[in-house]
């Protein structure tokens, strides 16, 4: 598998470390039900067959965390953006 790093270009997946679901948001620790929310944040994961947005860390490269859209069935990568720019429109960095 090859991941198009916005800084380094397309690189082999061996250079990256994987963290999983990138759609989760760290809950508000001050919330009333913070413990339940953190429980879901830490432990609950979907396992979709198809499009998946996930964190990859370019450990042997620029050391940037990337938000990668990958199809779990084909490993086709639709987009990869740096975490800090992850809210910009999709596809521009791929």
């Amino acid at each position: 598998m090859r991941i198009p790093c916005p800084y380094c270009g397309e690189r082999d997946a061996h250079e990256f470390a994987y963290l999983g679901d990138a759609t989760l948001t760290r809950p508000d620790p001050a919330a009333e039900d913070a413990e339940a929310r953190f429980h879901d944040y830490v432990y609950l994961r979907d396992n979709p067959a198809g499009a998946h947005v996930e964190w990859w860390y370019h450990a042997n490269g620029c050391r940037q965390w990337l938000k990668v859209e990958r199809d779990t069935r084909t490993h086709a990568i639709a987009a990869a953006r740096a975490a800090r720019e992850a809210d910009t429109p999709a596809g521009d960095a791929a």
Partner: protein, 993 residues
């Protein structure tokens, strides 16, 4: 030409007759030529019996001339280089080659276990499941050893492989897989556009079928044309031709795996050359031109040495100038096989008969055969064969009834199966094409197209066109301008074929899978027992599951199953293929990563210095660290370590602590950031001070610990444990980039930039004061406990001085640029000489931290909370931090959780053992009564007996209790006293001294 090569034709072939190569098979010496394979050289010398079959130990010969070979498997080389199950048909001959036959005892000619044939009824389909089902105990003791001895194939290598293997990655625009006519044209068409092209072929000679058949292409002989194209390709700077290279797998993103057999064609690899090279080829486009594999017709006695694929007979005659036998017949169902046989006849093979299942064969073929005195049997079939090695065949036809022919070589052709394997590697399923009676590629991996015989195009003219077209299209799709390419002219050829699989009325065992000894009858049994799915058929009969992966048997087995069920082949299904296409050596997969080179070894800046002092080193993660420094006369490590500890506690010692992770943090928000990743507060830390910190994972468990110092208002430097250095850095980057991108903080890993040496002991300050430069004040006032200052040492060397202590003594850590580390160690040795300064290793460090009650890797197990480790009070209640919420879960704050305490043996002479479990006095030794376990132990020179740290249910409130240490692994059980974790100087007076 050697006289001994009695089956070598007088002329022709692509072998170099000027080069005579000596080789041996089963100890007998023979000669062949450069350009031979082991199989062609054996045939040239009249050797036809080369192995025994897997299950029944039937005599077997050479069946094919390529990678599909099911029978001619031999052992090559010996000792650490021994290589079992090598296909003689693709093993390139070299001078001094030594091969032995497999699966026979005591010899190939006389094989005792061939009596397996007598018990064949018991070894049929499903015998693994049926015959040996009961009693289960007998498997281990009786059945399996018998089956292993009786049915084992080759022997594995003995000893370490002395050769080197390497891995490499390369990139191209167009990868062409296969250098037959389609591949050559594809590479030429793409190469002429200027695209970067790689042409890979498993053979050592490009050309594929052009070297094995007789054709005229654009006025040139086929093999000459192949050489001509290969030469042009070699002259193009943008084209790389990789022979002896098998592309074995298609991976994601246009990545292809390939194995280059760099030195298999030599007895021993050339100096500084690897045996094999594992290639990762990243290609923007690929053209698969892997050709096709001929399939046999199944009939009784079709496994005798002398029965051979028709294309193989043609290959041996045309390419190797070898007559596979004296009296040749053909049994076929297609026109191509006739042409091959007529050409073989013209080249000097003695073809005596052609048997075709078709009643109606083109007269141009039958007339040509008859003109050469070849007897023609149409509407006919081979119903039996005889001889240990083939001597006669029985032919039956409506026209002539039964007839016996004296034949020693029977060429068989049931048509061709495209080599679709790589198209399946992304889940594509081949589809049955009725027109060519073959499975052709279905969906292909992204970026890969298929050309030529691999695509079901069997006529040479069409193959050349398709290759050129696919090559050009691949380049064009990448934006390369495509110049016109004239595809050379070749004569039309008929590919007429009538599907025919199995001579149902033949006599004797009719083998579908020659390598796994699966017969047509086994397929029938599987069918009768209700197996309909192809995948079930495979597993039940083991059809196609041997090392050849059913190259010559899958389609035939499927077709026989279809005949039995009355369904069409398309309805019956298909088998798909997974990587690798052909076996890949484990050595190549490992590359240089084996033994001591499994991963890089990291040496500390003082490694050489420590080695000179006689240090014993220990692996800690990737690092080699000095474990202890034995002196002459010390009887064991314990004596050495005890001396080192005593020296530190009474005077001074030094240790390299450079392996700790070091992270430089700068920016206005570092304090805020650290407050969020540590459980304790760092924003309030004064400049010039350091603080011990603990960080959690988000699930509330401790991730790591270490000290972090503030060197300037916006500049901190963090240390992590050796083991977690990379993990912590990655975590911090995640927090910054993903969780809190609004924080203005920059991180840099500086672990390698700084050498860090700790000195500890009552006179540490005196020693330190002798290495720092004059203007650096290290007095207690200027550099108090937990102080951190910058300065210079050894006459201008930049340094950071931290007053820290892991040992519990007055201690400092001195960081200097990495390459000054050894010099610093030496300077400290000289400065402390009069105090007997003692270098110590990780063992003594461990003893002192246990004496002091500090936690380390054994306690930071990923299953402990800060509270478990007695560090709960460090957590600031005034802020949020990673892991805070989850650490507050009821189960993690339960006061009964196992938590850190110290232990002493009630009988002070007992030695404690890490891993021992705790049980209440008198409690039964079972999981229900388990109260935790010992994490770390040491012999305390200070106390004069063994001490331990462990996680005990109830923790601190158990101090003063007695429990049992229960160690069933070592068979030990004795009483312990529970004490506070801290066996020396609990008030910390020494380190503040």
């Amino acid at each position: 030409m050697s006289r001994a090569q009695r089956n070598r034709l007088e002329a022709g072939g692509l072998v170099d007759r000027s080069q005579v190569l000596d080789f041996s098979f089963d100890g007998k010496r023979y000669r062949g030529h450069a350009g031979d394979t082991l199989a062609s050289a054996l045939l040239a010398n009249g050797v036809r019996l080369v192995g025994r079959s897997f299950k029944y130990h039937r005599p077997r010969g050479i069946f094919s001339a390529g990678a599909e070979e099911p029978s001619a498997l031999v052992e090559l080389r010996d000792g650490g280089r021994r290589e079992p199950n090598t296909r003689a048909t693709v093993a390139e001959l070299y001078d001094g080659l030594e091969a032995t036959s497999q699966n026979r005892w005591p010899s190939l000619g006389l094989d005792v276990l061939s009596m397996n044939r007598l018990v064949a009824p018991f070894l049929g389909a499903g015998f693994y499941y049926k015959t040996f089902m009961w009693p289960a105990k007998a498997w281990e003791k009786l059945y399996e050893p018998f089956i292993r001895r009786a049915a084992g194939l080759g022997r594995a290598a003995e000893g370490t492989d002395p050769d080197h293997y390497e891995k490499a990655t390369t990139f191209c625009d167009v990868l062409v897989i296969g250098a037959g006519p389609a591949g050559l044209m594809a590479a030429l068409a793409a190469g002429r556009t200027g695209a970067r092209v790689i042409l890979a072929d498993e053979d050592f000679l490009p050309g594929g079928r052009l070297n094995a058949e007789v054709h005229e292409i654009g006025g040139q002989q086929g093999a000459a044309y192949a050489a001509h194209v290969a030469a042009e390709l070699a002259s193009l700077p943008n084209v790389r031709v990789m022979t002896r290279t098998t592309v074995f797998g298609v991976y994601d993103g246009g990545t292809y795996g390939a194995l280059e057999k760099v030195n298999d064609h030599l007895r021993v690899p050339s100096p500084f050359q690897p045996r094999h090279r594992f290639w990762r080829i990243v290609a923007r486009r690929a053209v698969l031109a892997a050709g096709a594999t001929e399939r046999p017709i199944v009939f009784g006695g079709n496994d005798r040495p002398g029965v051979m694929l028709a294309g193989a007979v043609g290959t041996y005659v045309q390419r190797f100038a070898v007559r596979p036998g004296r009296h040749v017949a053909l049994f076929a169902n297609n026109d191509a096989a006739w042409r091959g046989m007529l050409a073989a006849q013209a080249a000097g093979a003695n073809v005596e008969a052609i048997v075709d299942v078709r009643g109606d064969v083109a007269s141009v073929l039958t007339e040509a055969a008859k003109a050469k005195d070849i007897r023609v049997f149409t509407g006919a079939r081979v119903i039996a064969t005889h001889g240990k090695k083939l001597r006669t065949i029985d032919v039956a036809s409506a026209e002539r009834g039964h007839e016996r022919l004296y034949i020693d070589t029977l060429a068989v052709s049931g048509g061709w199966s495209p080599a679709v394997h790589l198209t399946c590697h992304h889940g594509g399923r081949p589809v049955w094409n009725e027109a060519v009676a073959a499975f052709v590629p279905g969906a292909t991996p992204p970026g890969l197209s298929v050309a030529g015989a691999a695509n079901g195009s069997f006529a040479l003219g069409a193959i050349l066109k398709e290759g050129a077209q696919q090559g050009a299209e691949a380049a064009e799709a990448l934006g390369f301008p495509v110049p016109p390419l004239d595809v050379p002219h070749t004569s039309e050829e008929s590919t007429a074929l009538q599907p025919f699989w199995h001579v149902a009325d033949s006599k004797g065992a009719a083998f579908v899978d020659l390598q796994n000894d699966v017969t047509a009858k086994d397929v029938g049994i599987a069918h009768r027992e209700g197996f309909r799915s192809v995948e079930h058929l495979k597993r039940y009969t083991t059809l196609g599951m041997a090392t050849d992966q059913g190259r010559t048997s899958n389609v035939t087995g499927l077709a026989i199953m279809a005949e039995l069920t009355g369904a069409s082949i398309a309805e019956t299904g298909t088998t798909i293929f997974r990587p690798p296409y052909t076996p890949v050596s484990l050595g190549a997969l490992a590359g240089h990563h084996r033994g001591k080179d499994f991963r890089p070894v990291r040496l500390t800046p003082t490694h050489e210095w420590a080695a000179k002092l006689g240090a014993v080193f220990v692996e800690t993660g990737p690092w080699l660290r000095a474990q202890y420094f034995p002196r002459k006369g010390e009887k064991d490590w314990l004596e050495t370590v005890t001396r080192e500890v005593k020296a530190v506690r009474s005077s001074v010692g030094l240790i390299d602590v450079s392996t700790f992770g070091k992270i430089d943090l700068q920016g206005p928000d570092v304090g805020t950031f650290l407050d969020r990743v540590y459980i304790n507060t760092f924003s309030t830390l004064a400049v010039g001070k350091a603080r011990y910190g603990v960080m959690l994972r988000e699930d509330g468990m401790v991730m790591d610990d270490g000290t972090t110092a503030r060197l300037a208002p916006e500049h901190y430097v963090m240390t992590t444990t050796t083991a977690n250095a990379a993990k912590v850095y990655q975590h911090l980057e995640f927090c910054l980039q993903v969780l809190w991108p609004e924080l203005d903080v920059s991180l840099a890993s500086v672990s390698e930039h700084w050498a860090q040496i700790a000195i500890a002991g009552p006179v540490a300050r005196t020693v330190l004061s002798r290495v720092v430069d004059k203007d650096v004040d290290v007095s207690d006032a200027a550099l108090p406990f937990m102080g951190a200052i910058e300065g210079t040492v050894m006459g201008g060397v930049k340094a950071r001085l931290f007053r820290l202590s892991f040992s519990g003594e007055l201690g400092y850590e001195i960081a200097v640029p990495a390459r000054q580390g050894a010099k610093l160690a030496q300077a400290l040795m000289e400065a402390g000489h009069e105090y007997g300064i003692t270098p110590y290793g990780t063992e003594a460090l461990g003893v002192m931290r246990i004496e002091k009650g500090h936690v380390s890797g054994n306690e930071l197990s990923g299953q402990t909370t800060a509270g478990d480790l007695g560090l709960g009070r460090m957590a600031s209640p005034k802020k949020d931090y990673i892991g805070r919420v989850m650490a507050g879960r009821a189960g993690l704050i339960d006061p009964d959780r196992p938590s850190l305490v110290g232990f002493k043996p009630a009988d002070r002479t007992k030695r404690l053992r890490a891993g021992a479990h705790f049980l209440g006095l008198g409690a039964p030794a079972d999981m229900a009564h388990d109260e935790g376990y010992m994490t770390s132990v040491a012999y305390s020179p200070h106390l004069g007996h063994w001490i331990g740290l462990g996680l005990l249910k109830g923790g601190a409130k158990r101090v003063g209790d007695r429990v049992r240490a229960y160690d069933p692994v070592r068979g030990e059980e004795f009483e312990l006293e529970v004490c506070a974790p801290g066996f020396i100087d609990p008030q910390g007076e020494r380190l503040r001294g």
